[in-house]
């Protein structure tokens, strides 16, 4: 019986652990070089940009300091004219604080409650309300003693009650405190029954003030008093 003897097979060239490591090392170095080149390019461009003078200014610059001084004085006056004159109200909705000011003098600092920022969606999905206190410049447009609250639709939706057809059924007394100052679009600075919640953002956009502070505010503010809210 003939025995077939298999010739010893040629060992297949296999990548050794050493060459794999070498390959990875080279690839890593290439990647690092590319990355460093990108970083360097970014830094060089940025550095040059920071040094470059802005030559694109289209404003012709007056060369005389006398002209500039008088122009700056006029601009400062114009800015002053834009600002509130006499008494004005500042409302900080982040810290829930109201300031009654005249110039830089503060005559009242009151803890208030501003809008909750919450969202209410009507169960049918047709209407939605965001309860933010509006921001910007407003003015006192109306003043009321013993104001009655004419409940809007959202108040009934929130309470799960049907919206009344008779407008008289919307009126609620005693909810807004002794006084209310309207500053447009149905927003008011008014009193509250929930004094323990003053200092928190819990309203539907109006600004609630404690009784004593509200009285001072009502007496001081006139129609047209500026209200700056941020």
């Amino acid at each position: 019986m003939n025995e077939t003897v298999c010739p010893p097979q040629e060992p297949q060239p296999q990548p050794s652990g050493g060459s794999k490591k070498r390959f990875l090392k080279i690839a890593g170095l290439v990647a690092l070089s590319i990355w460093l080149s990108i970083l360097a390019a970014g830094y060089v461009i940025g550095w040059r940009a920071s040094r470059a003078q802005d030559m694109q200014s289209t404003e012709p610059k007056p060369s005389s300091s006398k002209v500039l001084k008088s122009e700056n004085a006029v601009l400062k006056k114009r800015l002053q004219v834009l600002g509130p004159r006499g008494l004005y109200i500042i409302i900080d909705t982040a810290d829930n604080v109201l300031y009654l000011k005249e110039g830089i003098k503060t005559s009242l600092k009151a803890t208030v409650s501003a809008g909750s920022g919450s969202l209410l969606i009507e169960p049918s999905g047709t209407r939605r309300w965001i309860f933010d206190t509006p921001r910007g410049e407003f003015k006192v447009e109306s003043k009321f003693v013993k104001p009655a609250w004419v409940k809007p639709d959202w108040a009934f939706i929130e309470e799960g009650k049907p919206i009344p057809k008779n407008p008289k059924d919307r009126v609620e007394l005693g909810m807004l405190g002794d006084y209310a100052l309207g500053f447009g679009d149905g927003y008011f600075i008014h009193g509250t029954l929930y004094t323990r919640l003053l200092g928190k953002n819990i309203t539907h956009g109006c600004v609630r003030v404690g009784d004593e502070d509200l009285k001072i505010l009502y007496q001081a503010a006139t129609l047209g008093t500026k209200v700056l809210i941020f």
């Binding site: 940025g46 920071s50 470059a52 122009e71 700056n72 114009r78 800015l79 919450s118 209410l120 953002n201």
Partner: protein
């Protein structure tokens, strides 16, 4: 001949000295730009913000009146120098953005819940990015206090130096645009207050050296 050369050189230098703006004139030009920009923003009834990097403070303003002043602990600027002009806040980005809480309307005959679903300033992020026009990215970060805050600050700095500064600059340069990164370090409460005060679309100005 040498005399004429010297005379010409003196005249040339005199003209050069005459042409160079004095520090006073430069200050007046910059003040003029600031006032013009502010006047443009103050003409509207909107609230705007002045990032005054010279005095290291942030002024929330309306109609030229300061409503709130926040102090900047430290800051850094990278990229194209910022010219004072009215800018618009395009976007506020934070890792965890505060969402509006939804009021669940009570069902008919059901008592309204006494739980308050409200958004407070304390829920605002203290670490965020404000994207202004002109490709200005303004990062607000709280002063590093405590281990976690320090670690986060180191990570933010690494991200800034290894990614944002070089790649942002390069990317915008490829698009033919400028890029500026400003990093502001504020007290944690001030950072949250600023996030609250700023609304997308608000006017801004940056006053820097």
């Amino acid at each position: 001949m040498a005399f004429y050369k010297l005379l010409f050189l003196c005249l040339f230098l005199a003209v050069r000295v005459e042409a160079a703006p004095t520090p006073e004139l430069d200050r007046l030009v910059r003040e003029n730009n600031l006032l013009k920009s502010e006047h443009q923003l103050a003409k509207t009834p909107q609230v705007y913000v002045l990032f005054d990097l010279v005095e290291k403070k942030i002024l929330v303003k309306a109609r030229g009146t300061v409503l709130k002043e926040l102090s900047i602990d430290s800051f850094g600027i990278w990229g194209k120098s910022i010219q004072v002009k009215p800018l618009t806040l395009l976007k506020k980005d934070a890792l965890i953005e505060p969402g509006r809480k939804e009021i669940k309307p009570a069902k008919e005959g059901e008592e309204t819940t006494s739980e308050l679903e409200v958004l407070q300033v304390g829920e605002m992020p203290a670490r965020y990015r404000l994207s202004l026009d002109e490709h200005i990215w303004l990062y607000v970060r709280p002063k590093a206090e405590g281990t976690l805050s320090t670690v986060l600050s180191i990570l933010s700095s690494l991200k800034s130096y290894l990614i944002i500064k070089p790649l942002g600059t390069l990317w915008h340069a490829l698009l033919g645009e400028s890029f500026t990164e400003v990093v502001l370090y504020l007290g944690e409460n001030d950072a949250r207050s600023l996030y609250w005060a700023l609304q997308e679309g608000s006017g801004c100005m940056i006053w820097s050296e």
